[in-house]
């Protein structure tokens, strides 16, 4: 069995109209996307972010999108998990650059609005698609929250600890997971595990295509966007497709620099209209008055995506190689203060944070905070 993921569907929107009307249309986009997905016969849960792994380890992640923003020393991630029918439970693990201060339901139109800004062309939704010798200390659970049909747990621990926690909680990790978890844990031992219960979603009345946006606020001096996790569970030759949106105060420097498999497809000052729209969404008050919008369209083999994306909003090319996953923490040492990303990266990285999905088969047990 192969789980499929479809990227957020985009659609043509008419030119500026009164805000209420515009927002109403954005909501209709989601409905259109849902209908499209249904027509394409998607019957499995889909996520708007992350590396997705099915119960048998098969992965068919077509494209992901993540929104990350950085303002006043806080990185904001917005991602969305979409219900695409089917049953069972699935999960996703997302590495984070620091301990989040909040994990809440995100706004309803942020991702769509960013997509419209940079790609106002109608697209169809993609479809596709014993003897324990060294018992790892348990991963520390530092936050639990239930949002709609999503049970979210923020963990602190090394790769082994998080891997054991995942296994104990029914996540079936793919063979590359141990190395990938260590890759992230060395830099930041913070992970967000999300499990999506399709049956619970159905009982809640969620329709195919309904998304559950998640907004994670993470104070950090070195903002980065996890990219390598997008290839989790994929063969080296399999493609990774992802859209990453960045909103910074100034034109940022990126590390690694954009290239053929990671082109910068949008690079312009954000319009007042866009910023107003973003700011009016739930929990998006942090969006600054002026900002620079960048979009990276990642498209290349998973085997080449061995790094993340570090952002220096000063534009001076001082992004941290460690934050980008290009240098080991031990080898590089802590980045000097002047190398750290300044205060103002109004980063609205709208990248499909879909990336994290380490999903899994039937989950063994439920989180204690299940408050459905």
């Amino acid at each position: 069995m192969t789980w499929t993921f479809r990227r957020r569907a985009l659609a043509v929107l008419p030119e500026p109209a009164p805000r209420r009307l515009r927002l109403s249309r954005m909501r209709r986009i989601a409905s259109t996307a849902a209908a499209t997905a249904l027509l394409l016969g998607l019957t499995t849960p889909a996520y708007a972010c992350g590396g997705l792994v099915g119960p048998n380890g098969a992965v068919n992640l077509l494209r992901t999108t993540t929104f990350a923003g950085y303002a006043d020393g806080v990185e904001h991630y917005v991602t969305s998990f979409e219900f695409a029918g089917g049953g069972g439970e699935f999960g996703s693990i997302i590495p984070l650059p620091g301990v989040p201060t909040s994990v809440v339901r995100g706004g309803d139109w942020t991702l769509q609005r960013l997509a419209k800004e940079t790609e106002p062309v109608r697209r169809l939704a993609d479809a596709g698609s014993e003897v324990a010798f060294a018992a790892a200390a348990p991963a520390e659970v530092i936050l639990e929250v239930t949002i709609d049909a999503l049970d979210i747990t923020v963990l602190k621990g090394g790769g082994d600890e998080v891997g054991v926690w995942a296994a104990d909680n029914g996540f079936r990790l793919p063979p590359d997971a141990p190395e990938v978890l260590d890759f992230y844990a060395e830099r930041s031992p913070i992970f967000l595990a999300a499990r999506f219960d399709a049956e619970a979603a159905r009982k809640r009345g969620q329709q195919v295509g309904d998304g559950t946006p998640i907004h994670v606020a993470i104070p950090t001096d070195d903002p980065w966007v996890p990219l390598r996790i997008l290839g989790l569970g994929k063969q080296a030759s399999e493609p990774v497709e992802a859209d990453v949106y960045l909103l910074t105060e100034r034109r940022p420097s990126l590390l690694p620099a954009p290239r053929a498999t990671m082109p910068l497809v949008h690079d312009a000052r954000a319009s007042d209209l866009l910023l107003d729209d973003l700011r009016s969404d739930k929990g998006m008050e942090w969006v600054p008055r002026t900002a620079w919008l960048s979009k990276l369209a990642i498209s290349g083999p998973a085997g080449e995506l061995t790094h993340d994306l570090a952002i220096d909003e000063t534009g001076l090319g001082k992004s941290s190689p460690v934050a980008a996953g290009l240098a080991r923490v031990s080898a590089a040492g802590p980045p000097p203060a002047e190398e750290r990303v300044p205060l103002w990266l109004v980063g609205a990285v709208a990248a499909l944070l879909i990336a994290c999905g380490v999903v899994v088969g039937p989950l063994a047990r439920r989180l204690p905070t299940d408050a459905r």
Binding site: A58, E130, F133, A134, A135, G159, E161, A166, A167, L173
Partner: protein, 131 residues
């Protein structure tokens, strides 16, 4: 200074005890880390019991299944969730170690593979050479 010859003698005795007639060890250790076997080639003697210590350094489970092509073909489509009944087919939980004793009667090269989903294609294979 007298301790050094003594230590060497003990080490030599242990080494001889761990080898079969052909000089191949009768106790071998195999590590699983980042979903790869190390070493990837093992050489053991035929006709004598060989102790294999399988150490899994990963937080996820792995399998060690050794045999001819028919064995691996069967496991590629098998449904047994856990192995442990046969000494040549073992599941090793995450961060755990298992030991098995096998007498290989016929010389030849036999592949050992982790048949958990995706692991073989990820490269989790090796060769056991019986001499």
């Amino acid at each position: 200074m007298r301790a050094r010859p003594t230590a060497l003698a003990v080490a030599s005795a242990l080494l001889l005890a761990a080898c079969g007639d052909g000089g191949s060890p009768t106790r071998v250790e195999l590590t699983m880390h980042y979903s790869a076997f190390s070493p990837r080639t093992l050489t053991v003697p035929r006709g004598v019991p060989v102790t294999l210590v399988l150490r899994n350094d990963d937080p996820i489970a792995h399998e060690w299944i050794v045999g001819d092509d028919s064995v691996h073909e069967r496991h590629r489509t098998g449904t047994e969730p856990v192995h442990g009944e046969r000494p040549t087919e073992l599941t090793v939980p995450g961060l755990a170690e298992r030991t098995t004793v096998v007498t290989f009667e016929r010389p030849g090269d036999y592949r050992f593979v982790c048949h958990l989903p995706g692991h073989e294609s990820y490269g989790m294979t090796g060769v056991l050479r019986v001499v």
